[in-house]
């Protein structure tokens, strides 16, 4: 038998809490490293010099007033969904059903707009849409929550399946409402009457979504950190046993929190259909339900930190999209870039939590 007389070259130890500044530095380094790698890959794929790559990314995201507005609008939707999912994650309820909850909100909005056109005043349609969208999103959050509360059903897969059920529901209604028949598309809803189109704020069609997302972010920060509900959510997330010990009804908290989470996702759906696109497709949420999971996690479930995190993702997606268009690459290029950045950010947590001791 071989006798191993080796001493390990290094070994790992858990770190004491790092200062906020050092954590930030580690994260920034990882982002910079990720951006460098992205630039190199882009340079290889397109043959332009890496510096130009950054130029293209920045001009893609902020190159003109319109581009900047769209970036901000995309940011506000991603932020809204991320913030919406956050109370569930704080509770360690892995809601990856944001996609479905947004779709249901959007579907409810589209239904109100189509069915109520010319029947009631536009303002009333808006109000009804709002209620319907929020209720639809909440319902889609409620179902997995009830199953979790009653039988401890795996919420990750349950919310995932709910996404596809929502997608199929949307396909079903698209065919019912399609214009023209056989096209498989709805097109712009109420293009002539603008019935049920949500109001513009400050004279800009972008400001409504931006304002709503700011308000919801602030609300969520206060809700999670200062309210009794928020405290209960944190206790349930940390330890179900402790929650029971102090008499918190965990089932009730799970259901209540998922209602809120789903409702806010529904609100995002309302904005996507009622304010931004004025139509509905099965891909209107565009995978943001999943991206939002990662944004929320990257921000360590702090709503304010989600602003820069979501900005980073949107910035890269819009920038990479610009590069893809300019160099007629496939638009999925953006997903690859996003993936790389995520891998670096995920990986860098290691250096925050552990330190490597080198043996002399």
């Amino acid at each position: 038998m071989e006798n191993k007389q080796r001493t390990p070259l290094f070994h790992l130890a858990k770190r004491e809490e790092l200062s906020k500044g050092r954590k930030l530095v580690i994260r920034l380094i990882s982002i910079v490293a990720a951006l460098l790698l992205c630039a190199v890959i882009t340079a290889l794929a397109t043959g332009i010099n890496p510096l130009q790559v950054y130029g293209s990314i920045i001009s893609g995201a902020f190159g003109s007033a319109r581009k900047t507005w769209i970036t901000l609008q995309d940011l506000s939707i991603l932020l809204l969904i991320s913030v919406a999912l956050t109370p569930a994650f704080t509770m360690r309820f892995w809601n990856i059903g944001g996609e479905g909850q947004v779709l249901m909100g959007g579907l409810a909005t589209a239904a109100c707009m189509i069915l109520l056109e010319n029947k009631v005043p536009s303002v009333l349609i808006m109000l009804i849409s709002f209620v319907a969208a929020v209720a639809a999103g909440a319902l889609w959050g409620l179902i997995p929550a009830v199953c979790k509360a009653l039988w401890n059903t795996n919420e990750t897969l349950m919310t995932l399946m709910m996404n596809y059920i929502a997608t199929q529901l949307v396909s079903f209604f698209i065919i019912i409402w399609e214009v023209p028949k056989g096209s498989g598309k709805i097109g712009i809803i109420n293009q002539n009457t603008h019935d049920g189109w949500l109001v513009q704020l400050f004279g800009s069609k972008y400001m409504l979504a931006i304002t709503v997302s700011i308000l919801v972010t602030v609300f969520m920060y206060v809700y999670l950190n200062y309210s009794k509900h928020g405290y209960e959510i944190r206790v349930v997330g940390q330890s179900i046993n402790t929650a029971k010990y102090v008499g918190i009804n965990t089932g009730k908290v799970i259901i209540r929190t998922m209602l809120l989470s789903g409702a806010l996702c529904g609100l995002a759906g309302l904005l996507l259909v009622g304010s931004i696109n004025h139509t509905i497709t099965t891909t209107i949420a565009g995978g943001q339900g999943f991206t939002a999971v990662m944004v929320s996690w990257m921000a360590k479930f702090n709503p304010f930190t989600m602003v820069p995190c979501a900005l980073l993702i949107v910035f890269m997606e819009r920038g990479a999209g610009e590069i893809a268009t300019n160099f007629s690459l496939n638009p999925s290029f953006a997903d690859i870039m996003t993936g790389i950045i995520l891998f670096f950010i995920i990986g860098c947590e290691f250096f925050i939590n552990y330190r490597i001791k080198i043996k002399k």
């Binding site: 399946m161 709910m162 999943f290 496939n330």
Partner: protein, 331 residues
């Protein structure tokens, strides 16, 4: 009867990618890793095979292809692609101890993007009007059946009408079940997933088992993607066509209560549910109903999830450390 006869092979064909994914994820989860990146891995497995065979087909031109190479090149490319994805997942979650849920989702984003990006790029290279790549020559090798299968009537139709990868999938599933139940390495793997601290104390190399199981699982899952393109879709790649099968495969793992042999029939059942909408008559007037019928596999999965959680038996529980990373000196 003819409807049913044609339904079975199609259900099985739909089920095979799920079977690969499900078997791969079972091995992975037995090591305590919950790999939500499987959908991405299956995309990468598929596109890697497509890339390999695309260049092989083009290099041969109009000449005749070597059957061995036509099969081995895509298979090896596919294995390599999903191998790398497995290594990436393990490096992040096992070595760097990153959150498994988030890593998995990021891998899916990346993998689907990777598949569609290279798929799109190849489509551009091939300068065709349709947004697809057709590798029909390679596909012919993959979907070749035994020469006498057609002569055996319904028996041949149901049991012998598939390409070699389909049988490989079944064999891998059976082998996985035997491996987990009977072998020492299988016993160790189960111990790692249940209690890594115990396994570690017993001298089992937890890191090695997690890496091996997860990477092997990814490679198996990747073959599911390859089967889908090369055999089921007759060598036609189009972006996003693979759809959500990866997620269904993960859901299947719970349905099969982490038993690879149950996975075989379960996959075929789900394959059947997946295409059931084609067999339910709606009439031309109500095409929209088809969209509702497409919901069936997801609704059934949800119901299965709920029912298994209601039963809640000790033997049917997931590996106890599933989703948690292991660090020996955690105090």
């Amino acid at each position: 009867m003819t409807g049913f006869l044609s339904f079975i092979p199609r259900a099985v064909g739909q089920g095979i990618p799920l079977l690969f994914g499900c078997t791969g994820e079972i091995i992975t989860e037995k090591s305590g890793n919950l790999n939500l990146g499987i959908p991405g891995v299956m995309y990468v497995g598929a596109i890697s095979g497509v890339i390999g065979s695309f260049f092989y087909e083009n290099s041969v031109g109009d000449g005749s292809m070597n059957g061995f190479l036509a099969i081995m090149i895509p298979v090896l490319c596919s294995l390599l692609g999903s191998f790398l994805m497995g290594i990436l997942y393990c490096f992040l979650t096992v070595t760097l101890r990153a959150n498994q849920n988030v890593t998995g989702l990021a891998m899916t984003t990346f993998g689907v993007g990777f598949g569609n990006f290279f798929g799109g790029s190849l489509i551009r290279l091939s300068n065709l009007d349709v947004p697809t790549i057709a590798l029909s020559k390679t596909s012919a090798y993959f979907s070749a059946t035994l020469p006498f299968a057609k002569k055996l009537g319904w028996f041949g139709e149901i049991f012998l009408s598939y390409g070699f990868l389909a049988y490989t999938g079944v064999i891998i599933a059976v082998a996985t079940a035997v491996f987990l139940k009977k072998s020492r390495a299988g016993l160790h793997l189960r111990a790692v997933g249940e209690s890594p601290a115990t396994a570690d104390a017993m001298g089992i190399n937890v890191t090695a088992y997690k890496y091996n199981a997860t990477v092997t699982g990814c490679m198996i899952a990747g073959l599911g993607g390859l089967y889908y393109v090369m055999d089921y879709a007759s060598g036609v790649w189009s972006n996003d066509a693979f759809g959500d099968r990866g997620w269904l495969a993960i859901a299947l793992v719970i349905f099969t209560i982490w038993k690879a042999d149950i996975g075989i029939l379960a996959s075929f059942l789900f394959g059947g549910l997946y295409i059931l909408y084609l067999y339910i008559p709606t009439g031309m007037e109500h095409m929209e109903l088809k969209e509702l019928y497409k919901m069936i596999p997801y609704v059934v999965t949800s119901i299965v999830l709920i029912v298994t959680s209601m039963r809640n038996r000790r033997e049917d529980q997931p590996p106890a450390s599933l989703g948690l990373n292991y660090f020996r000196e955690e105090r």
